[in-house]
Symmetry: C2
Subunit: 322 residues, 2 copies
């Protein structure tokens, strides 16, 4: 008599500010179905319904039997502890037992994690395809800035699940006011928000730039202008590269990681972004032997723009549910 093992499925979900992606994979991590739905952010209940819809979409395609759905991993922009979501301001969730709600609804265990921590886990999967490494930092540069850490081969959360929240460390004392209220946070000088704001202010102050023709001036506009050698845009992108290279040096010296992976919306214009970061790193390297040894070129890796690290991190989280 042959023993036939029933299939096992895992679901990964990435909750963003505007859309939700879900994927279902089999034991071999092959994608069996994929769904993308907009997120309705009016209140926590509506967000939950959006998430449930994304999950139901992929389940409908695969139709697993009882016991075949083994786990759901989910990343969300907020502070996550004990299956609850805290301080997810844009999603109107605070002290919200999302894991329990979804687990009851789908009859499977659910694990939650902060979206950037999970993207770090996804990035680790990507890096491991290229190199054996046990320690890695993932630096997410988008509207905001945050990092996630893989230490000794494991996601490191810290005491409150906040490890890597370096967007709000002071990097330029007395600098621009940040959304958190402080002056000169990393996020206030190097995020997508900061890039657009700086350009708008400079243009409003009368700086001559091709950007003055843009109706609103977005981060993307600044990168495009930099690509066309606009001096103001080049100056802004160059400064961002210097601040980010300082942050990268902190991550390398502080954690002694083998790789720093850069991801997030701001990195997508790689042709302009990466040279700016590399120029900042080159400046740091050129001054000291120690920096040169600790910051070799290959240590800083760009995440491909079409790899959804958060989603694949969620799948990896789902696989670890016991």
């Amino acid at each position: 008599m042959k023993y036939r093992r029933s299939p096992q499925y895992f679901i990964g979900v990435d909750v963003g500010g505007t859309k939700i992606e879900a994927v279902v994979v089999n034991m071999g991590l092959t994608e069996a179905a994929h769904s993308r739905v907009p997120v309705e952010t009016e209140n926590a209940g509506r967000v939950t319904e959006s998430i449930a819809l994304a999950i139901q979409n992929v389940l409908d395609e695969v139709q697993p039997g009882p016991q075949e759905l083994c786990g759901i991993g989910l990343g969300i922009p907020g502070l996550v502890n004990d299956g609850k979501v805290h301080l997810a301001v844009n999603l109107n969730m605070d002290d919200y037992p999302l894991a329990a709600i979804l687990s009851k609804r789908f009859g499977a265990p659910v694990a939650l994690e902060n979206d950037v921590r999970l993207a770090a886990l996804g990035a680790y999967g990507y890096v491991q395809l290229q190199t054996q490494c046990q320690n890695m930092a993932y630096l997410s540069i988008g509207t905001g800035i945050s990092a996630g850490l893989i230490l000794n081969g494991q996601l490191y959360r810290g005491a409150n699940g906040m490890a890597g929240e370096i967007g709000h460390v002071i990097i330029q004392p007395g600098g621009p006011v940040c959304s958190c209220g402080a002056h000169g946070c990393l996020e206030s000088v190097a995020s997508g928000h900061a890039i657009a704001d700086t350009a708008r202010e400079a243009v409003a102050a009368g700086r001559v730039s091709s950007l003055s023709a843009c109706p609103l001036i977005t981060t993307q506009d600044v990168f495009e202008a930099a690509e066309k050698q606009d001096p103001l845009a080049l100056e802004i992108v160059g400064r961002v590269g210097r601040y980010l290279s300082q942050a990268i040096q902190w991550l390398v010296m502080g954690y002694d990681v083998e790789r720093v992976v850069l991801g997030g919306g701001v990195t997508h214009t790689a042709e302009v972004f990466m040279p700016a970061v590399q120029a900042g790193l080159e400046q740091i390297r050129s001054e000291s032997e120690l920096a040169e040894r600790m910051l070799p070129l290959e240590k800083v890796v760009l995440m491909p723009g079409d790899y959804n690290a958060g989603l694949w991190g969620a799948v990896r989280l789902a696989r670890t549910i016991k």
Copy 2:
């Protein structure tokens, strides 16, 4: 018939730039003997003889029988990997198999670690007497600056045993030249060295200060002058407090630790030092709710000046030898 277990002894050794301390303890970590000898730094062999003398001193007092000396833990200012000491410039050691040499000599297993990493382990022992905590950073501020990390209850070394070497991250781009060659490293603006240098330069440039009466101006002189409200000294100490509070914020946000323990020579004038650091932290706290929540007063702890964290970290390391 009674079963009588033979005693077990462990030795901890702290190698500094000028002296070596050794202690032998029993299973209950009670100190059985203590030795302090000067270190002869002419070459690696002489340093090793100094270390061996310190160990022999405590062994002579206790005279353990065969099998009773269970392990020797040793902290040394240098990069340590696989029982070898690298880049210990002041001790003339590089690629030096110190563990094997001492192990052969004393017939016991020997474990080495960088001195600041070990001091972190010792500091963790101290903190655990007061609070259950799993994640802790130890920031050593002496002639140089470095940190050691306890993450998830374990010493975190990183890929190369360099985790926590934050003395050489750039904190003030374009700032003073550091010993490493770079400009504006944390060490170049906030170490004992930096404090004395800044004062000397200011006095040489004609700044009016009681420090001009000091023959050389040491870090200690600056702290004493600050205690007597000398404006230049207060300014220097205040600035150091601000830089260190930035570093502390990085450690807290980056690692999400429950405690940051401050130690090292510069912290010994606590009456002047701690208010300067707390003023810097207060400034950071005052600007943002997040900072206020993440940097509460009790999170930053001063190591008592008479607790040799490095030595007790070495004892803890010896106890972990299998």
